[in-house]
Homo-oligomer: 429 residues x 2
Amino acid sequence: MKTFQEMSRQELEELRSALEVQFEEVKGEGLKLDMSRGKPAPEQLDTAMPLMDVLNSESLLQTEGGVDCRNYGIMDGIPEMKRLMAEMLDTKPENVIVDGNASLSLMFDTVSHSMTHGVCGSTPWCKLDKVKFLCPAPGYDRHFKVTEYFGIEMITIPMTKDGPDMDLVEKYVREDALVKGIWCVPKYSNPQGYTYSDETVRRFAALEPAAEDFRIYWDNAYCIHDLYDDKRDELLEILSACEEAGHPDLAFEFASTSKISFAGAGVSAVASSARNLEWMKSAMTIQTIGPDKINQLRHVRYYKDKAGLKAQMSKNSALIRPKFELVIETLERELGGLGIGSWTNPLGGYFISFDALEGCAKAIVAKCKEGGMVLTGAGATYPYGKDPKDSNIRIAPSYPSLAEMKEATRLFVLCVKLVSIGKLLEEMA
Amino acid sequence: MKTFQEMSRQELEELRSALEVQFEEVKGEGLKLDMSRGKPAPEQLDTAMPLMDVLNSESLLQTEGGVDCRNYGIMDGIPEMKRLMAEMLDTKPENVIVDGNASLSLMFDTVSHSMTHGVCGSTPWCKLDKVKFLCPAPGYDRHFKVTEYFGIEMITIPMTKDGPDMDLVEKYVREDALVKGIWCVPKYSNPQGYTYSDETVRRFAALEPAAEDFRIYWDNAYCIHDLYDDKRDELLEILSACEEAGHPDLAFEFASTSKISFAGAGVSAVASSARNLEWMKSAMTIQTIGPDKINQLRHVRYYKDKAGLKAQMSKNSALIRPKFELVIETLERELGGLGIGSWTNPLGGYFISFDALEGCAKAIVAKCKEGGMVLTGAGATYPYGKDPKDSNIRIAPSYPSLAEMKEATRLFVLCVKLVSIGKLLEEMA
């Protein structure tokens, strides 16, 4: 099989004509597909519906310690839910604060409190001329939006299969006291699905920051989000690694049940050292009288322990896995060996990362839209929404049905081919 | 009957001896009473338990427009819940954002966003040397804690039966561009239970601030929290008053169902002009993917409309009213005509405000604690926790049972008498 690069102008033009006919056919079907966000599918949410029966008007809505979950109080979450989240994160309950429905809010608020009050007594960032964050990329667009919102300068760090380029991370963190944080999705990273190697985690824990208020934002969003029961990535636990390295305060770890139970009505958590949690609570005690404890109770009474969470995840992955496999199979069948794209093949998480020929990502996303499918905006996976190579596309297979995924992937490969041919012909001209 | 001031030293000393015997008796009972916070009693929360049966695993968890409440999305709340909150606040649904379980967080976040980003495009407050808030006092301690946390200078404004001293408010707001806000609990104010008069509301709406980013923080926490069905205070609607006065962006109005359904698991809202809401959403869109829509759905399916909310409030007030009446009756019977205290007698809300002789509040609260009852810390109702006269005590009758309230009030009047006698004897010395 020839790669597209090996084809002659004439071969490319003929292929383009044939593909354009196919594209017009697909377009004529009036598809309305959405692969833009990592949203659970309705069928997946259905599997968590028993959660809605756990509590009713006959239930005693009290914590194990007898606190009334209907009333005010317990600012940092009910003890049994702390225990559950600690189990999920392989840490201790005393390291955990359990909050409302969104870990994104916990991250935003942590940055916001750092801006107005400084981290654990350090100078508030708003009093500094400049603050910088390291942003392994491709990464999670909403992380980058938070730092951009606060006017924090973002420095792109290339991603490898083992995590961020740690030589570069170490250099920046050690040499630049304006570098105050780094965004990480350490397991099944968004969008590549890479899991940081043990060495990467140990190098994170061993960081010697120039800034005393430097923190790792460890968004462990996919901690138990394996696609397979028999093969999965393992991530070294960050908080104990930091402790062992003599840097107990180095990391904030975030997580939630959003992609376990209900995306919009789950429970979020942050785990960190006693000192960091005290600092976070100093803000929370002013910001709130407490999170929704009834929803926490609902979750912990239903899932009970890590095994309960994993049982839910098996139901979820049974629905997500075929979609991932369909995408991967289609990409391999349709694009394998053509030299016009590469993609990841993760064992978990919510995304597949696709790298097109340089300068083609925006055009492919636009072409897909023309054909009836919304993808995450090209560039979104990079700071400021600017992919320097205009090459990365995030594929989110979780939401569409399997039938829709088939249509979507068919359209996608068609668009990749068409745009790539256009680019190659242009280069020949 | 003689006032304490008219008594001789000997009369006071004899009375004190008799009261101290009583106090020791009460103390010996080992009471553990809590009148420190405006918390609903368990019996009150019980009346909202049918809320727990509205949704179950068979329910279609969709908005009226067909949006899946289990999934991500709808950052500013589901339409039907906006409508319900708008009804409650006598405003339009398009003026409303519905959020999570705590209106306090909405207020905190609004101040926080003003600090880091400025209000509707104005200079971020953190870039200014000084920012000031007007604080009608006695007022709500958690409001004052928010402004104190952000280093905002608080200026105490005396309260009258018709609301804050508006001459003073107008003067500050008109003359000082550093004055950026004012905290208001306009109906059944915390702790006095006063409702702002129509004239006060109109004067608020007519304010001509020196600062373009001045906003009224209108915490309408007790908007439908009447104690009686047949007599209640009426509050002029602030947003339309502002609009009529040509100042549509002047006020943020906050509210929640915390003291309607479940204190810890209700739904909060903010209402304001289109321009203000756009500004708020510019932060929310970064901070969250959306609030817990299932809990919103639960609330709106159960309460349906304002009549539904009012029916719930009738159940609540049937339980709270006797406690208020017990306190007022006891105060009148035990302290009436003695010249050692005055108190408010509100038609709604959660508090009774008691003014002791100057310099006695702290000592009374301490004495109550010795006797087995926790009250809100004296001074808490003033900025920086400092009551200049050391006179105001907030009584929160909602949480204890009626039997406990009887004990609590008996202990309270005893402590007021003892501390007042001590003060008067000291002055004679």
